[in-house]
Symmetry: C2
Subunit: 132 residues, 2 copies
């Protein structure tokens, strides 16, 4: 397999990572996601990693990269389905996944994206400017 | 990988097939999907095959099996993301995917599941009884 499929669901893009991410696949995913975010004007990216038994520093960096790219393109990234053992390892390794939001499962992740968009729609720019 | 992840989104379950389906994986998917349909009382199953370059008679039969099992459990199955070349091959091989509904992409598939459920909700049992 040379590409990880990206599904559009409403305003969000959904990616399920099921295979080991080698360099080329990770770069292809970053590229494809970036193109799709722009093409469909996606506001959210949901990445399911429930199939991953190990998240090493390379995958962690890939996820953080995707989140940063998506943020520049005005989309939020939510990583869902992390296994308990993976969460423990991440903390032990000191990998904090900067810029990456997490949710327990796909359903909650979608709800998170929706609520973030709703909050944006209700108070445009207010949060970013830190109005008090 | 020993399991294909199944995501719950609303009343539907979403499966993205990204790897070659050998016997054991197909059986595991059937089993897992059946269990999940019952566990979460899912009304729809969305199977994305956009990553598959080839759908042979084994995968075709697996999809048809899943659709039949889901139907018995009162859930509709929609296969989405079929590549043009796959559609041509299916027809040339005479594989008709009995009981399997198809939609162009995940978004339309979700809409199809929703509209089928809406129709059910509005006229419970009427369709099945063939009332005219």
């Amino acid at each position: 397999m040379d590409r990880i499929p990206i599904l559009k669901l409403g305003e969000a893009l959904l990616v399920t990572i099921q295979v080991d991410m080698h360099d080329r696949l990770a770069m292809a995913l970053e590229e494809d996601l970036t193109t799709r975010i722009v093409d469909v004007a996606a506001k959210g990216v949901l990445i399911d990693i429930s199939a991953l038994e190990i998240v090493d520093s390379f995958i962690g960096r890939t996820l953080a990269n995707i989140a940063m790219i998506a943020k520049v393109l005005d989309a939020v990234t939510v990583v869902v389905g992390m296994r308990p053992a993976v969460a423990i390892t991440l903390v032990e390794l000191g990998l904090s996944l900067p810029g990456v939001r997490t949710a327990l499962n796909a359903e909650r992740g979608m709800a998170m994206i929706r609520s973030l968009l709703d909050a944006e729609g209700m108070a445009p720019g207010e949060e970013a400017e830190g109005a008090a």
